[in-house]
Amino acid sequence: MTSTRPPSAPERTPSGSVPADALHAGSSDPRTLIMNNLRQSGIFVALVVIVAFFAALTDGVSLSPGNITNIVLQYSYILVLAIGMVIVIIGGHIDLSVGSVVALTGAVSAVLVIQQDQPWWIGVLAALAVGLAVGAWHGFWVAYAGIPAFIVTLAGMLLFRGLTLRVLDNISLSPFPAEYQRIANGFLNGLIGGEGYDAFTLLIGAVAVAAYAVTGFRIRVARIRYRQPVESFPLFVARVALVGAVVMYFAWQLAHARGLPIVLIILAVLVLGYGLLTRRTVFGRQVYAIGGNLPAAMLSGVKVRVVNFWVFVNMGFLAAVAGVIYSSRSNGAQPAAGNMFELDAIAAAFIGGAAVTGGVGTVVGAMVGGLIMAVMSNGMQLMGVDQSVQSVVKGLVLLVAVAFDVYNKRRAGANR
């Protein structure tokens, strides 16, 4: 039987002059471009405004090399959690247990490494294994038993907090050996020298910018070959230059502090990997399909249970990664570790444009959402704002961000 539309080669064989086309083709009407990316660009603009706001209020201290390094070290584990959380939320679920899981995985690692003198990597592997097991537990109840994730992970929040207390015997453990501490507090620097700055950090920054430019150009060429709209070439160059400038500024500041934080590398790998996973893989697309319309996904042949199960296993894994980073950062394990982390991660995902009803959200958005929270907390701390005020401000920002999103959607929907 013949297919009505065989998914074979492009209708028009690509001509040899495609890269040349890449220099000229495209639209640069800023209005269409901005309207197309309103949700995403809105959040970037918000981040820039908030960064500028606190830079002004703190006389530039918030943008000093030392402080930028601090923000990365202090909030990396929230960002790691937010990656997993946004995927859970896209699938139409929620995970309230991640704070407890951070505590439990850190505790297991601490017991092995501090109490039982195991090597640091045994602690890391054990923590990851516990995280995967926790994820599988949640996944089983959500996907196969059909219990709403809110209930399952609410139970998990209590359950794993209790297990943490049991594992730690109600006491804190510290300190970790130096190798373990390096995970969250270590830097890669001095590898290729530099006078008063770290050349290696700058090199990595340059490599990242180059990779961004090359990938961007290749995507552009491919899109033109498939006759899809692209931005005009000058606009493309401007975009790459802007991103490059921001990244190099960031690298420059890091290079003048203590070099490239190891957690930043971990985070970058995760963001890149999960960004691709959500956008480019069958699995990622099925998560969106399930969150967008569950029965329709089911009737399209999506194995809903399998996908949901792995979404939670993955959340457990990332909670364990965050647990390792947090225990390393705090140089020990405490019974109350990770308290309320789930709320920060959930807030990051929603500020980053995820929808409460599922089916909408991006990893990059969640990262920007997390950074907005991070820059705000950090800025307010630098200014010596009272803890109570900080909490009020963060709460209001979450509310306003989601309200803005809902308002935008309603306005778009009114066209129907």
Partner: protein
Amino acid sequence: MADNILEMRSITKTFPGVAALSDVSLAVARGQIHAICGENGAGKSTLMKVLSGVYPAGSYGGEIVFDGEPVHFRGIRDSEARGVVIIHQELALVPQLSIAENIFLGNERRGAGGLIDWNRTNAEAATLLESVGLRENPVTPIVQLGVGKQQLVEIAKALSKRVRLLILDEPTAALNDVDSAHLLELLRRLREQGITCILISHKLNEITAIADSITVLRDGRTVERLDTGSGEVTQERIIRGMVGRDLDSFYPSRLPSPGEEVLRIEDWTVRHPNRDRTVVDRASLHVRAGEVVGIAGLMGAGRTELAMSVFGRSYGRDITGRLYLRGREIRARTVAEAISHGIAYATEDRKRFGLNLIDDVRRNISAAGLRKLARLGWVHGNEEIKVAEASRRDLDIRAPSVMAVVGKLSGGNQQKVVLSKWLFTDPDVLILDEPTRGIDVGAKYEIYTIVNRLVAEGKAIVLISSELPELLGMCDRIYTLSGGRITGELPVGEATQEKLMALMAKDRETAR
């Protein structure tokens, strides 16, 4: 000038970038049934939203005169206070609440101390149910009623508000012929009681049968007003006004050329997922390549249940029976297995079960066949766009681009996206469940043309429809289903609406 209960003059309503209504006028005479016709997107629903205050006064231009005085409704409550009640296509009943609770929702019958007076509530509900001819206990939860009966509850609810102008938006779209006839009879009775009615419907046979006058809209403008009293208003006449041209025929012609048998279902039995009831009872049927086989049945006959249970057991439990694909027995225990065997099922409820409305055309089209676009789990994004573009061209999906959000397309175009999705899986058997429900005449014709093209390519098509003329016009062979049993099989040459109706109503009680 006749005694008009409602006059809408020069109504203009614009949304950012588009004029949904421009200078539309509507005059409805007291005590008449007035039909509004137009293709999807012609502005019918927008006009009714203006009338009922969903779009508040001030957000549109023009003037509304109700019962001789200008009105400015700021919301549904305003319009309902004057006795203008709208019943939407998607019924707005709360499934878990009882009939009586739904009827008086927001309008509760209270007794001493503001508490709900249940005796009065249920007694008044019983009276209202009687007046709409629905024999059900008022305390029955809505979930236990079929769509037809739910529609009657909606009308009872409207009557409870002392309705003077009742607006029905596609009331029979989800109903089978018997329930539809019942509903139309009720509308006639209401007319005798002096209730004026505005009827929006795509079913032109109903309109010509019941309406006293007709306003035709096209592209947000009033095209013409027809009075059926003269007897010269035919369906063809209305269609000409709606589409601005003549349609040669409702159903495009096709030369039947059935080939070998593709799918055979034997002794298929399905139980209701959570009630003790057999919904499909030892059904057997087959379909050949290049053949359109129809399934006719009343609401609740088990048509959708049969189709979905065959499609990877997506409905029901304790499913027994055998499936043969080209003579070989197959198992299709999951939807994914069914798809890989070349079976596709396009659902009757595209919004709830067929589409991810918040996502774009492209990803909806690729949803069921995504693995064909992927290598080692990685989706080839550009190839996907190309596939979507090809579908958009082939099926003439009218969307600004394949990146357009599906929820914003018209019903007909959404249905084409659903079809595209299944065609991309390259099925041998395509089960179409009510493929033209709620879409306009022009789009229906296009869907029929697509079906004919697929048949010509050798696909086997199973067509489930509540509209008998559609089955008679499109199928080569028609099975009738009643109470979960196959009660007849007729070649289209021998089938008539009367014969089909008799078979569809046969043996209904004993089969339960």
